[in-house]
Assembly symmetry: C2
Homo-oligomer: 177 residues x 2
């Protein structure tokens, strides 16, 4: 429905009417107009955190994350027909992009918490979750562009890329005006 009129031009009253209910009822189901677009997202989060929790014991944080990411490929594949048109709407709506960021931040928080439960230090877990999510985003983007090698392969490449990232420490003093 957002696809036709656009997100901003679609009022909550119209959404409710289309659903056959009152505007008030709409807000009893969704705390927010934006939230109507992000549904079943907890399933993805739970799948990831469960996978982190279920990763082989003793595995370092980044490897646990990689395991978790690999495990949700079928879930991502299955949700593709829903997420793809959604992306279109989000791309045109700054307010929705903002919400995506908080969703991602929540996901990062959940992953970090799952890592902490594995015994990882708090700050370290957050850092790992952030870097991991960045890698996942990088791999997912490449995967959408070219799904043939599988998400697994793209993930491996992303994490390998990370390894080449923080080598020489910048010795000279900063050059800034």
């Amino acid at each position: 429905m957002f696809r036709e009129r656009g997100y901003d031009a679609t009022t909550t009253a119209e959404i409710a009417a289309r659903a056959g209910v009152t505007e008030r009822t709409f807000f009893r189901h969704f705390p927010d107009k934006r939230e109507a677009l992000f549904d079943g997202e907890e399933a993805f989060r739970d799948a990831l955190t469960d996978a982190v929790a279920g990763a082989p014991e003793g595995l370092p944080p980044m490897d646990a994350l990689l395991c978790a990411f690999r495990s949700v490929e079928p879930l991502l594949e299955r949700n593709r027909p829903f997420t793809e048109p959604r992306q279109e709407i989000i791309a045109r709506t700054p307010a929705l992009q903002e919400r995506v960021l908080t969703k991602t931040a929540n996901l990062i928080g959940a992953l970090a918490a799952a890592l902490v439960r594995r015994g990882v230090d708090d700050g370290l877990a957050t850092l790992a979750a952030q870097v991991g999510m960045a890698a996942l985003g990088y791999a997912a983007k490449a995967w959408f562009d070219d799904p043939r090698p599988g998400l697994d392969t793209h993930l491996r490449r992303a994490f390998e890329t990370l390894q080449h990232f923080s080598p020489t420490i910048c010795k000279p003093d900063p050059h800034v005006g």
Copy 2:
């Protein structure tokens, strides 16, 4: 002013009245109620992107970022009295946290663009900027807790930590139900 009544309980009309203008005028200065809190943030962004642009030629992306981060320590130090009470308000207001995320995302985008201008690949630049910002956040947090060693030292530690992050590739198949 937000400190007294809280952000949500402070109406834009009150803010405008306190400033001696009309509510309408307030919205001519700030596109948004939230934006009133984030001012002079472009200065920080420009300082960072300029520093990235001014980093020694040929320096790999992550080192350029490290150089840039090191260079803004005095700026962060100077702004501390303003950012510290702001953090308090933001911590209590989800809507403001959401805005912080978009600000960070914009910053990441700007850093990535600066890297691209240095000849770095687009996707790679975004990944580097994300990882770099995560490291900066990690270092800044440690720096706020213990400013004595200087941001520089904390940054070095953060980037060293990153190096220990993506080692063994998770070989076995995912363990997920």
